[in-house]
C-alpha cells in the first residue's frame, strides 16, 4: 500500500507520547521517582506490596494523572478540530474557533461565574453555550443563499463576536474584587484545577467526536476539494459537513469547558503534522492526535514546572505557539 512509508511516523510519535507521558509524572513540587511511579501505577492492576507513602498515591492519581490525561484530551481535541476544519474550509489558517464554539463556551463560563454557579455548573453552562453558538451559526448559515462555506465563515464571525461582546458585558457588570478576576483567570486557560471527575465528564463527548472523524477520514480528503468537484465525485458534502461540525464542536466545547481558552494549538499542530506526513487524512488524523496530545502535555509541564507560580496555559500556548508557527512558515520548503 502507498502509505506504508509514512506509517513509521505514527509509531515514532506513539513512542514519544508514551515517554512524555511517564516523564510528566515526575514534574511538580513533590518529587516522585520512576520506580515509585511504576509501582504506584502497576499497583492498580497487580497486587504489589505498598512501600510508599500515601501522599504519593494521592499525588499520582488525584493530581498528576488527571492533569496529564486532561492535557492529552484537550490537546487532541483542539488539534483534531483544527485539522478537520482546515480541510473543510479549504484553508490551512482556520482554527477550531471559526464557528464560534470557544466564544460561546467562554460566554457560558463567564455567565455561570457571574451567577455564582459551582464548578460543575460552570462547566456544563460553558459546554452548552459552546454547542448553542455553533448550532446558531449552522442554522443561520443554511438560510443564506450563498456558497455554504462562505456562509458558515461569515455567520461564525458574526455569532462569535456577539458572544465575545456579551462576555465583555458580563465582565463589565461583574464584581471587581471577586468575580471579575475569576472570569479573567478562567478565560486565560489552565489545567491546574482539573480533577478526576472532570476527566470522566469530558471523555465521552471527546470520544464521540474523535471516533466518527477517524471512520470518515478518507472522505475528509474529498471534502477538502472544491465543492462542485467533491459532489461530482459522489460525496454528499452537506451531510459530511454536519457530521464534521458536530464532532469538532463536541470535542472543542468539552475541552474549553474544563480548560478555558487555549489558543494556537488547533492551528499549529495540524500544520506541523501536514508538513511531516502530508495532507492525506488517513495518516494526518493519527499524526495530529499524537502530536497534539504530546505538545499540550509538554507545554503544560512547562506551565507547572518552570516557575513556582503557575503560568496560565493559554498564555504559554500563545507565547510558544505563535513563534513556533512563524518558524514553521519560514522553514517550510514544500510550499
Amino acid at each position: 500500500m502507498i502509505k506504508t512509508k509514512k506509517k513509521h511516523y505514527v509509531y515514532i510519535f506513539t513512542i514519544i507520547l508514551i515517554l512524555v507521558f511517564f516523564i510528566s509524572f515526575g514534574i511538580g513540587r513533590y518529587p516522585v521517582n520512576v520506580v515509585q511511579l511504576l509501582k504506584v501505577l502497576l499497583s492498580k492492576f497487580f497486587p504489589i506490596d505498598k512501600d510508599w507513602p500515601d501522599t504519593i498515591n494521592t499525588i499520582v492519581f488525584q493530581v498528576r494523572l488527571p492533569r496529564i490525561i486532561g492535557a492529552m484530551l484537550v490537546g487532541t481535541s483542539l488539534s483534531l478540530s483544527g485539522a478537520v476544519y482546515q480541510g473543510m474550509f479549504k484553508n490551512p489558517l482556520v482554527s477550531p474557533d471559526i464557528l464560534g464554539v470557544s466564544s460561546g463556551a467562554a460566554f457560558g463560563a463567564a455567565l455561570a461565574i457571574y451567577l455564582s454557579f459551582n464548578t460543575v455548573g460552570i462547566q456544563i453552562t460553558s459546554f452548552i453555550f459552546g454547542l448553542i453558538a455553533v448550532g446558531l451559526v449552522y442554522l443561520i448559515s443554511t438560510k443564506i443563499k450563498e456558497d455554504p462555506i462562505i456562509s458558515l465563515v461569515i455567520t461564525g464571525v458574526l455569532v462569535g463576536s456577539i458572544f465575545t461582546a456579551l462576555t465583555s458585558l458580563i465582565k463589565y457588570l461583574a464584581d471587581t474584587d471577586d468575580k471579575l478576576p475569576t472570569i479573567t483567570f478562567w478565560l486565560m486557560g489552565s489545567l491546574a484545577s482539573i480533577s478526576p471527575r472532570d476527566i470522566k465528564a469530558i471523555v465521552l463527548p471527546i470520544l464521540l467526536g474523535i471516533i466518527p472523524l477517524f471512520i470518515l477520514r478518507w472522505r475528509l480528503n474529498v471534502l477538502s476539494l472544491e465543492e462542485g468537484e467533491a459532489k461530482t465525485l459522489g460525496l454528499n458534502t452537506a451531510r459530511l459537513r454536519i457530521i464534521v461540525i458536530m464532532c469538532s464542536t463536541l470535542m472543542t466545547a468539552a475541552s474549553v469547558s474544563v480548560s478555558g481558552m487555549i489558543g494556537w494549538i488547533g492551528l499549529v499542530i495540524p500544520h506541523l503534522s501536514r508538513m511531516i506526513v502530508g495532507p492525506d487524512y488517513r495518516i494526518l488524523l493519527p499524526t495530529t492526535l499524537l502530536l497534539g496530545s504530546t505538545y499540550l502535555l509538554l507545554i503544560d509541564n512547562i506551565a507547572r514546572g518552570l516557575t513556582t507560580v503557575e503560568i496560565p496555559l493559554g498564555i504559554l500556548t500563545s507565547l510558544v505557539g505563535a513563534p513556533f508557527f512563524i518558524i514553521l512558515l519560514l522553514t517550510n520548503k514544500r510550499s
Binding site: 502507498i2 476539494l225 465525485l233 460525496l235 502530508g278
Partner: protein, 257 residues
C-alpha cells in the same frame, strides 16, 4: 443513453439557455460551441447536477436523474470543471484515487483494488510519473491529465468537461484530445465545451451551437458544420478550408482578415 429534453437552465429566476434537447450515445463526442457568456458552462453545470434544471429534464436510460444521489450520479457522470486545484499538497495518485469515492462504503478507505484501478488509469494516459508529484504544483496540462485519469478511475460512462484544452500548450491540447478520443473509442460519451470549432470538425460526432439563449444541434459536424454557422455563432468572418493530407481530408477553420 443520454436524453436531454426541453432543458432550461440558469441562476435563480433568470434563464440563460432554454429548451435544449439532444441525445447522446456511447462513443459520442459532443462539442459545445458558443461565444463567451453564451451559457455553455451553465448548461454543463446543469447536466452534472450542480445547478437544478429550471424546466425540462435529463434522462439516462429511462430514468430522470433529478432525484439521483451524488453517489449514484458519480458512477455515471464524471465532471472536469474549468479550473481546479487543491489547497493541500495531495499527490497525483491521491487525486486519481479520489475518483473511487462513489464505490467506497460510508466509512471505508480505498482498497488495494481501488489503487490498482487508479494506477491503471494513470498508466493508460502514460502519466505514472505524476504519481508522487504534488498536484497543486503541477502544470495546467499535468493537472488536466490527472483529472482525466481521475474520471477514468471513476468508471463513469459519461465524462463532461468544461473547456478541457483551455490554458494548455499546443502539445498538451493535442495530447488531451487524443486521450479523450481514446475514451470515446472505449465506449465513453464525452461532452465538452470548447472555443475551437476545429475540434468539433475533426473529433465531434455532434456539435451544440449555444447562442442567444438557445441551442442548435448539428449532427456529424464534420459534414454538416458550415462556415455560415460559425459566422452566425461568433459574428466574425471565417472560412472552413479542406486540406488533403495523404488520403485523409482535414478541415481547418480560418479567420478572414
Amino acid at each position: 443513453m443520454l436524453y436531454v429534453k426541453d432543458l432550461s437552465c440558469g441562476y435563480k429566476d433568470k434563464p440563460i439557455v432554454e429548451k435544449v434537447s439532444f441525445n447522446g450515445k456511447p462513443g459520442d463526442i459532443i462539442c459545445l460551441l458558443g461565444p463567451n457568456g453564451s451559457g455553455k458552462s451553465t448548461l454543463i453545470k446543469t447536466l452534472v447536477g450542480l445547478l437544478e434544471p429550471m424546466e425540462g429534464s435529463v434522462y439516462i436510460g429511462d430514468e430522470n436523474i433529478k432525484t439521483w444521489t451524488w453517489n449514484r450520479r458519480a458512477k455515471t457522470i464524471s465532471y472536469i470543471p474549468q479550473t481546479f486545484s487543491s489547497t493541500f499538497q495531495y499527490t497525483g495518485l491521491d487525486i486519481v484515487l479520489m475518483g473511487r469515492t462513489s464505490y467506497l462504503g460510508f466509512g471505508s478507505s480505498p482498497t488495494e483494488e481501488d489503487e490498482r484501478i487508479a494506477l491503471e488509469a494513470m498508466e493508460m494516459l502514460k502519466i505514472l510519473n505524476l504519481k508522487d508529484k504534488i498536484y497543486s504544483k503541477m502544470s495546467g496540462g499535468e493537472r488536466q491529465l490527472v483529472k482525466i485519469a481521475q474520471a477514468i478511475a471513476q468508471q463513469s460512462k459519461i465524462i463532461i468537461m468544461d473547456e478541457p484544452t483551455n490554458n494548455l500548450d499546443f502539445g498538451n491540447q493535442i495530447t488531451t484530445l487524443n486521450y479523450l478520443n481514446k475514451c470515446a473509442d472505449r465506449g465513453m460519451m464525452v461532452i465538452m465545451a470548447t472555443h475551437f470549432p476545429e475540434q468539433a470538425l475533426s473529433f465531434g460526432t455532434k456539435a451544440l451551437l449555444v447562442k442567444n439563449g438557445g441551442v442548435e444541434v448539428v449532427e456529424e459536424p464534420e459534414k454538416n458544420l458550415k462556415d455560415v454557422d460559425l459566422k452566425k455563432l461568433y459574428d466574425v468572418d471565417v472560412e472552413i478550408v479542406e486540406l488533403r493530407r495523404k488520403d485523409k481530408i482535414v478541415k481547418m477553420c480560418l479567420p478572414v482578415y
